[in-house]
Symmetry: D2
Subunit: 253 residues, 4 copies
């Protein structure tokens, strides 16, 4: 059974900061947001976790392998190097959506995202190291079949983007409501989904649903592991099998 540890990363008071005393240059906001995400990706990734940029002022990470002390160090380090600070909520559940909901509640209880007095709150509990197993995390890595040939080399870059976005939006809603899963576009034509215990049939259903509704053809590799990286790396290998064998769904166990 999955035991997904999810962390909500929320920049403190970001909306007001971006326009005080005057609006800030957009190019600088984009640079700062992206580099902050990149740093969190490295920090979490070095512990075997995955971070997703999501809305950039609110980011979601799968943090099996990180303790609360690790979370505290992340806050301290960011506070030393950026003009903003982070609040973090951590929670664990078999259901990734439930874990995220609990993590969110922790942060919301500490104060509004635009509460100028709420800074660097840290709430929640992490999985006890003694209880961790190789089935804690299930990661599914979807991509669009032959996106380069079908879209990138054929349509203008925005229309290709619209097609990928449609596929992502449909998959994201389906996986959240039908399967309690969290789906994240990670670049190119790739979507990584954090799942509870799903089976091959659930994935087949998902990709055919997306094909039916928005006519975007997906394939998926799925892995399980003690950390997001372990699960996700297996999922990448499973996806290579899809590419090599022409299959639509491959589970790496």
């Amino acid at each position: 059974m999955t035991t997904t540890q999810v962390t909500l990363v929320q920049i403190d008071n970001y909306g007001p900061w971006t326009v005080t005393p005057e609006p800030r240059r957009e190019a600088d906001l984009q640079t700062m947001q992206s580099r902050l995400f990149a740093d969190i990706s490295q920090f979490v990734g070095n512990h075997g976790g995955y971070t997703f940029f999501t809305r950039f002022d609110n980011m979601i990470a799968v943090t099996n392998g990180l303790t609360l002390e690790d979370h505290e160090l992340l806050q301290e380090s960011v506070g030393n190097r950026y003009p903003v600070t982070l609040s973090l909520g951590v929670a664990t559940d078999a259901s990734p959506v439930q874990a995220l909901a609990d993590a969110t509640t922790g942060v919301q209880n500490a104060g509004s995202a635009q509460d100028e007095n709420r800074r660097e709150c840290l709430t929640g509990v992490t999985v006890d190291d003694a209880d961790r197993t190789a089935e804690d995390v299930q990661i599914a890595h979807f991509d669009v079949i032959n996106a380069t040939g079908t879209y990138t080399d054929e349509l203008n870059a925005f229309d290709t983007f619209i097609e990928i976005e449609q596929g992502y939006a449909e998959l994201m809603r389906h996986m959240r409501y039908a399967h309690d899963s969290l789906s994240f576009f990670v670049g190119g034509d790739n979507v990584i989904v954090v799942c509870p215990d799903l089976e091959a049939g659930d994935y087949e259903e998902a990709i055919y649903h997306v094909e039916e509704t928005v006519d975007v053809e997906l394939q998926v590799g799925v892995g399980r592991g003690k950390t997001a990286h372990d699960a996700g790396y297996d999922a990448k290998h499973a996806l290579e099998t899809c590419r090599a064998d022409g299959t639509r769904v491959e589970l790496e166990w």
Copy 2:
């Protein structure tokens, strides 16, 4: 009349690179992609342009103010500091979508995104400095009315994300098909749209369309300028007016 200079930034042979000789750690790909985007945002931004991460392996920029030599320098600099290289296509048109289409065609003609022999191609023409005017670029900056109160402080972070995504997806399709415009989610609850000559009525129509179809309430500030930064900064100020006065559409001219 707008004269939008658009650049398509495409990483050469990226798909194969990410899995050769073996799949690469996802956290590292996320970090590398984000920092590459951040660097391009700074380079383009220092010339008054805007860059949008789009799909990360394909990025779109509004580059009024950059010459072909500037584009060449960007390629050289990235080639010196990253394990990947960039191909760039530039084009200009009153219609942002048309400019992007032409820019895309330039890159596609040079070779496939996964053609291992296509490296660092540079195609297209930039606007002649003598022809540039303060009406070349029109930028609209949309955001969700009171996103913090309605979503961020109320729903779990993924359900908030779904709401914002729905609003973005609907706006993006409407603006592209009805108004030849390119829309980009830039973090938080913000969408920046690159438009041709539109009027207040077009923007009112757009936000009410989104409200009708997906029940997400937007407001928008619009600006014009010689560069994306000039136009976009005016748009930010116009958006502040929406916030202060409770209006839905504000044009800064």
Copy 3:
């Protein structure tokens, strides 16, 4: 007794890379080198270690707290995100200089710094976690007494730099030959020294030696700990005591 774990970080084949096929833009080399150092500083720092930029193509780190697997991950991560790769040699000794010498020998035995076939070698042994104690690392943090008043606000910036450099060069040679210690300029007027078991008298001797030879007045705070960060943070606090009390040498134990 100290047990200093030192890692030599050497970029593979860097000299040739910087001029092949043509010399690369200096600004890009500076950017790439600095960001690589910054990343290594974060990676090592998140494990409680310290990294010193030294010559940028050769960097020295105090890595008590990092295992060989950690070193391997650092190599993999850098290889995924930079156009260069790293070779790493690790060794441990009561004497920091001896540890570094052994670490260097490990890398040298694997091949020349400009051997185009030597890539990502990893040699050496780390301290067994069971053997680690709170006296493993001794860090001394020197700075120039009232550098701002004496130099920065008075001389031109290069003459200030010359004064600081002279102080550093003299301290560096003295600490290496008299005390087997490794000294690193870390910015401003600060020098961090990695020491074996030294006593207050050794530090007094060092600062008076520097004052005698090059007329630069130093003060120093010293700490001990299980990691470089633990020792170094205590040293920073001890230095604050020097500043507050007007003393020249403070040991934080």
Copy 4:
């Protein structure tokens, strides 16, 4: 005749910031300082200038090609993305040392480096674009002959570092006092020197002086140009000639 435009980049109130409210993690300070330098290197470099990290809280740049508006943009951009701000002083003179002295005076007149009220001052004048020539900047690129064979592959990494440091310290003092030049170690075994109009004989004298005093053998390539990059790139090519032909001094004009 040279017309060197030099900018002093000084972080505002940095000393106090690093210890308020408590000392900050050293690894974070190193990361932040290095990335700030890297960004300034890119900004200045994209205009054809060179930036040298010097003391990190005080950096020196050769900014022929940058206007005061460019300097202002750099300040704004850094202020949006870092937890610190910059004060900048710009000046021009045939003598690089004089230019730096004037730039420094400008900043010192605005207030102490640790004056908590002095923030983002910008002083000085830039070279009028109409007056710029291809002889404005003279750059000499020194390196140690066969550093890899003589030191890197033979000595321990710190003793190699000591040798390189000695050579740099001696060259730096000689070039400053004998030739009004600013010398900067840029990594590896490389020193870049910003010179007024010097001749081959001056460079021969310099390298033999260093060989006599500290027994470090240097070679040097020299270039001239409208910008630091133009001059420095020619210098790199001249250095390649030294390497190929076994000569000690090569001027690229």
